[in-house]
Subunit: 154 residues, 10 copies
């Protein structure tokens, strides 16, 4: 049975203060087991919120991240705190989405990563943003993110 090495972590199992900006947040990683095995890890974060940079009004999104680990796994508590840190951060939908994905790519050097950000409607029209680092490695299984298209009322 496999055992993950958690010796390098500073936040797991601690009472940790909420980071107040994405820059301040500490995104942490642990060594990935099963080194020769290309599997997918999916995080689903339906509790994401940031600020509209033009109006100061809150924006909301449902975010799903899929990745194939290289040498590292993201530690899930630090990911949660990182996503919370956008709470008072102002950014356009397209920029905010791509910035989150690129921070993870910098930290993890994954074999592959994609992000789907499903923003709540403004003006009756929601924006979705979809990005992946490139085509998935051949032969790896990556299910649909399965978030329904916006459909108004009725």
């Amino acid at each position: 049975m496999t055992k993950t090495d958690v010796s390098g972590l500073s936040q797991l199992g601690q009472n940790t203060a909420q980071p107040t900006s994405p820059e301040e947040a500490q995104l942490e990683r642990v060594p990935a087991g099963h080194a020769g095995t290309d599997y997918v890890v999916r995080f689903t974060a339906p509790e994401f919120t940031s600020i509209c940079p033009m109006t100061g009004q809150p924006d909301f999104a449902h975010i799903v991240i899929d990745y194939i680990p290289g040498d590292w796994l993201v530690e899930s508590k630090s990911l949660k705190l990182y996503l919370h840190s956008f709470r008072n951060h102002g950014a356009f939908h397209e920029d905010c989405t791509i910035d989150i994905a690129k921070r993870l790519v910098d930290l993890l050097a994954p074999k592959w990563l994609r992000i789907g950000a499903y923003w709540y409607p403004r003006g009756g029209i929601p924006i979705d943003v979809f990005w992946q680092t490139g085509p998935a490695p051949e032969g790896v299984w990556i299910p649909d993110q399965g978030v329904a298209t916006y459909r108004g009322r009725g």
Copy 2:
């Protein structure tokens, strides 16, 4: 963190009169960040209506637009106003759908764009129109639009 240049816009953050025809509507654009990154932006517009050119009766559609930005992003408020401007415009379903897509293509010169228009039934039989500028660039992630097929009653 990325910052979008909005200096060239005339409608965002303004009180803007409703344009009364597609020709009058000003569809605007901003420079796209993340220049080397091929991601998809999806707009979902469930509140679309126009006029039947034969009978003058209202038509309704649910419209979804996906595109991969080149140098430009469409500014979302101007897109909303543009879609509103079809309110008193008469056109066949097929023409109207393709006209919207082509106006966006002219403005944005996107790497790729598609439109799905799901029209309300007339005579018991709805029409859907689907178009894309061509095959998507390899390795870009573009989810299904996920709008359910018409199914009558029962």
Copy 3:
């Protein structure tokens, strides 16, 4: 174990010609077992069609009938043939629905009966018709018919 008396039937287990009008159709009945027991029988007929009396064009409906037997059960093959007999019959939605229900009431003298007719949309607006002979007898269990409301597209 209960055994139904089928001696009075003329169509069941026979090759029977399709009746060509509601008047011609023979709706048959068998004696109901479990005489002192008030239970509900539901027939669901999603394959109903008739003719518009103004234009001659076909109309379609999904029909659900619930009843509490008195002394009689409707024989299900004869009910099927009766519903088929509207195929070339012209009638308004409200009339057609109530006529079906009243024919069953005349045949069966049920303790209670209701009909829900869910017509396909014409001009963008479907008509549903709901009728019951009166309040249900106390203490009898009658579930919802559970046909979804029409919702257009998107």
Copy 4:
């Protein structure tokens, strides 16, 4: 078999101009058959639009009307044209909904009527308006309108 008297109608089977305001629209009625029978007629209108009186922007609603006829049925083509006539009419959601219902009550003197208006979200928060003329007569069957609650994304 029942036959509806359509002699008093002016619009059915005619090419009829679109009315341009609710005041101008002619809502018509026909005598109801099955006089002693209390049944429910449901109209589902997912294609309703009006104008916001403060901003001039379009509003959308999905409207469902249920009624128990007294001496009159509303003629369905005239109802369609009446609902279309709100297209350039400005009104608050609450007023618009109740006004439609009261116009039908004045025309039909129904035994009972209710309206459910499910407006599209503005500012992230939709408004629904529900009204009925009073408790339904005892023993009449009136199914749920079955329109889903708004739920945002994700």
Copy 5:
């Protein structure tokens, strides 16, 4: 913590031969705990099949049984075997459904019982049968059986 007395059972925890008819099947009971407490037990049996008494062809049903125990609970393994025993039994839908319910009523003398039998379509029209022993005791909670109405295709 409550402990059920299973001393009177002959089939539970045994390898038991399949009964070949409803008459042969041994439906067993255990004393109910919580004597003064009126709660509902629901069994859902989507694996039910019997034989058409006219044609010898198989029929299928989805059956849901709710009851409020008096002094007895039905033992669930014996219920399963009893339902299996209809596999080669011929009966009309209405009779078969009511017979099952009455056998349980005879065994258990429940405070209340109902059965919903949702038969697969024959001739395009399925039959549902609903029965309860009488109105439920006041103040007992009995949720919907929640089986969808048949709707054909599309």
Copy 6:
């Protein structure tokens, strides 16, 4: 803005008699605009009925047709009348479905066409028939027809 040439049509905008057989029905076409543009047109017909050639009993189907126009569009009123003309026509499910598709192929010489016919169950087992003229041209977008598989009850 594009304008469709309707000069060759004989039925549109006319009161047209219902054709009484597929042979008699006049399926009409108009020249397609946007000659160099490969888009998909979908017709959804949940109101289809024909006759079983062995027993004379009615059959029902939900039919969806997708095609990529070449030089011609099918005129939608003539398609509706053509589908209505099967009302008294006897044919096996497989033949009927392929015959409809081939008639359209003969008329339109489309770049591509497919048909999905979802027949209502007979003997507890529905038949679906799926056909396309060949693989779709590369780079054209064609969503799923999205009709649910039959599932019986429960």
Copy 7:
């Protein structure tokens, strides 16, 4: 046609700063038309977030408010701003929910009001809070809020 008096409002049609706490937020009202008519107004707010008073971590809820107006309607823009103002407010789920409802009751003196707050899961177990001012007036139509119960995964 009815006209709402908006003369007493200070925020509608203005650029209004985001209030930073519930205390600071100005909840406004307008006189209700249709004085003798008891109808229900429903607000659905799927974008609600506040702060956990113990941990400082964000909480999320989906909130639905139904009320029957007395002399006043709540102005919807001020309601939106009021709900936004909980963004940095710390409160237990039960307290927060009841506080929102009571603030509306104080402002509007409605004939009746209820609130449903559906909080996101913590520790695998979500909490819902439901409150109403008392039984609804007789004969008023108040549909279910229709928010699905939490169901975990799978």
Copy 8:
């Protein structure tokens, strides 16, 4: 219009005894029309039952079969009787599924065939079996079978 040759059939339009084992059942075929046309025929059989070879207890499955005809179509009544003949047959899920498929392959020599068998849970864990004769011929349209994955309760 196409006409199927049914001269070689022995069961269609006859009263036919139920076969009592798969070996005894007569699976019949008719010549396929549209010889050069590769289309798919789907049979959906939610009414399948067999016997566990270890315990003698009944098993249930929902079975979907897709095939592309070569020179032959399976006659649907004989297919129904063949599936019924497993009623008293004992076999493991994997064997039973593959045996059905191979019998059809032997009879029809189809261009391609697949079977999906969705068995009801035993021990809390259902087994699904999926097989096809090989990759589908290029350019043939074969929709998903669309049967939901099992998910237990809640």
Copy 9:
């Protein structure tokens, strides 16, 4: 703003050992605020497991508890640990469900409480258990638990 008194709690904010049986588990309570206000608190526990007392095999259930507080609220961390404590406890479904409810009734003396336990299928037939302490107090709003009925496969 209301403040809950947490001074009597021994487990909240502590690292607490998992209790190994229901008897050992400490279910705790806090004083309820809003003494004169009848509202409902719902706990949803899709992560419940216990042991079959006859075979030692694991059982699973999805459990939903609703109550109207009297003087006490159950502390949610202690409830979680209490439910976890059934992990190695053997009990029949009916007993286990009622025992959980009664332990809460003893601790809280609520104005009203109900429990719905939706057990995973055994032998193809799941058991649901529903209980409430009595009819709900008049005028309190208690939505459906909304857990779907079991339906097998297909």
Copy 10:
């Protein structure tokens, strides 16, 4: 008709003690029939639970396993007991999932295998783990696992 050789099994048809750890559990296999036939067997296990190695609290998952047999089938009762054996086993989600898959790979030497593990949320963010042994053999049919993405509330 095919017959599986079960002579090598030690647990099937026996009363078998629950294994208390994955190491202790005996995962068994039988020879696969239909040797030259590449089909897929799917096991769906919504009743999985293990222990968090950091906190000792229970974790839950919904697990789906698909494989193409080589010379061996896994015996389903032994698979059930193996999955039960994680009940008191502590492991991270990623490790636990991959360990299960690799144990099956070691036992069966399948032509291909994949596992999808859908863990219940912790800290608002669930983790899914997806792995397959490599690309599926060409021409084998492997449907989606079809487990819905997590979506929070509302």
